[in-house]
């Protein structure tokens, strides 16, 4: 009996407790820096597209929401001809970011993507590509990779020695 009255009193005291509710549109919730939200495609510090259209993200995606078509420009750089993410299917697992060998595809702390029409949730490359490098500011894939493109032949990359002349006997 006394316990019942005490619990009624304790519930009454909750009138002055701090409210747990976050008044969302006015008051934004705290999002951790590693929050997995809207997916973007980043560029390297020189402004070129990082994506080399290797299809690893599309393969890693558990819900098959990424579609792309590889192409190659006149400099020998691979790039996606189109890159399409269907966000009505995306589960924001971040596997695409993990799979990406060039830090091109990244997940951002943004979740406000609601649309009235379902078709608007299909993002094309124009919608995905941002102008900056995203999380990895100094990284440029073609500068650290051994691949030769026009303007950079084999051996010119950072921390790369000139290629070994296999026909020479000299060490």
């Amino acid at each position: 009996m006394l316990g019942t009255l005490k619990s009624i009193w304790n519930v009454f005291l909750h009138l002055w407790h701090r409210k747990e509710t976050v008044q969302y549109p006015e008051e934004k919730p705290y999002l951790p820096p590693r929050w997995r939200g809207r997916i973007i495609l980043s560029r390297d510090p020189d402004g070129g597209e990082r994506c080399v259209a290797c299809y690893l993200c599309a393969v890693a995606c558990p819900v098959d929401c990424i579609a792309l078509q590889a192409a190659e420009d006149e400099h020998g750089r691979r790039y996606p001809e189109f890159f399409r993410i269907n966000f009505s299917r995306c589960i924001f697992c971040g596997f695409c970011e993990d799979a990406c060998p060039t830090y091109a595809i990244q997940l951002t702390p943004d979740f406000e993507m609601a649309e009235y029409r379902r078709e608007n949730l299909v993002y094309e490359k124009d919608d995905l590509l941002i102008s900056g490098p995203g999380k990895y500011s100094g990284y440029n894939y073609y500068r650290v990779a051994g691949l030769s493109i026009s303007g950079k032949s084999k051996g010119d990359a950072d921390n790369e020695r000139p290629p070994v002349d296999t026909r020479s006997l000299m060490p």
Binding site: T4, S7, I8, V11, F12, H14, L15, K19, E20, T21
Partner: protein, 316 residues
């Protein structure tokens, strides 16, 4: 003059009661939210005050569906019965001197009779739905409300003996010397508990126990018919609070403020108390409810009746 008052007062009471019932939907959701560290509905209008209006519009536009397996006329009639009986019971509540719809000399009996008739709504609603959960809900409701009716009537008899009348106006007038909550403390406690059970509010909401019976007797109801059950429930809360105030807390009596204000303030506090009980207490098991009623409340109510009678006889 008299005939004009005879039209204005009933209409005023009806409008006030329906407005309060709508406002209670907002009040209950806000207060429950505060007691659960939330904000509750605060988007529609200032402080969410227009929420009941939005709810009503939504209910009006919902499909008014009668299940093909239901007993159609009874199914449609059941929600109407509860609203009519609780509004009828308001006819005998004295809000202030002169502001009472009918000054019946058996006002208290009329109230008890109307709340007994309200049981039909729940029972018929549960039976005519023709589904297991509704039937179980209706069954529980009939047993619960009939047994708590007994203690309610017996607990009120103490007040009747002290006031010497069944007329609610005279009961209030008899409290000028002192409100009845102190001499009738046990009776008041039992009346509040029985009133809770009569309105099927949360500690005693076994007829609609969501966790066991889906929604109990109104499982099959939708749209405004479902809404009418809720209107009935909220008017019922107001009714029982008003009765507690009238019988035990001096009705409109009080210093400085006008009588109507006193009555409203007291009733409002009891309505908030009912919502607090809903926020704080869990639902008992069905057999606990029954044994609590018959084994504890009935003997206490009888003892209260006997002691009051003995004291009155010896005193005067």
């Amino acid at each position: 003059m008299n005939s004009i008052a005879g039209i204005i007062i009933p209409i005023g009471v009806l409008v006030a009661v329906l407005t309060i019932a709508a406002g209670l939907i907002w009040l209950e959701r806000r207060l429950l939210a505060f007691w659960q560290d939330r904000f509750g509905p605060n988007r529609v209008g200032a402080y969410g005050l227009l929420q009941p209006l939005a709810d009503a519009i939504k209910l009006m536009f919902k499909e008014d569906w009668v299940p093909p397996f239901a007993d159609k006329p009874v199914f449609i009639l059941a929600p109407v019965v509860i609203v009519i009986t609780v509004i009828m019971a308001f006819a005998v509540i004295p809000f202030a001197p002169g502001i009472v719809v009918t000054d019946l000399n058996i006002g208290l009996l009329f109230f008890l009779g109307m709340s007994s008739l309200g049981v039909y709504s729940v029972v018929l609603g549960g039976w005519s739905s023709n589904s297991k959960y509704s039937l179980l809900g209706g069954l529980r409701a009939s047993a619960q409300m009939l047994s708590y009716e007994v203690f309610m009537s017996i607990s009120v008899m103490g007040v009747v003996m002290m006031a010497g009348s069944f007329n609610l106006v005279e009961i209030v007038e008899a409290q000028r010397a002192g409100w009845f909550w102190a001499p009738q403390f046990l009776g008041m406690i039992i009346f509040i508990i029985a009133g809770l059970a009569e309105t099927r509010r949360l500690p005693f909401d076994l007829p609609e126990a969501e966790s066991e019976l889906v929604a109990g007797f109104h499982s099959e109801y939708s749209g405004m018919k479902f809404g009418l059950f809720f209107v009935g429930e909220y008017i019922g809360i107001t009714l029982v609070s008003a009765m507690i105030v009238t019988l035990y807390f001096g009705g409109w009596l009080g210093p400085f403020l006008p009588p109507l204000a006193w009555f409203s303030i007291k009733t409002f506090l009891f309505i908030c108390g009912f919502i607090l009980l809903r926020a704080a207490l869990p639902r008992p098991r069905y057999d606990q409810l029954m044994s609590y009623g018959w084994k504890i409340l009935l003997p206490i109510a009888m003892a209260n009746l006997l002691i009051t009678g003995a004291l009155l006889l010896s005193g005067g």
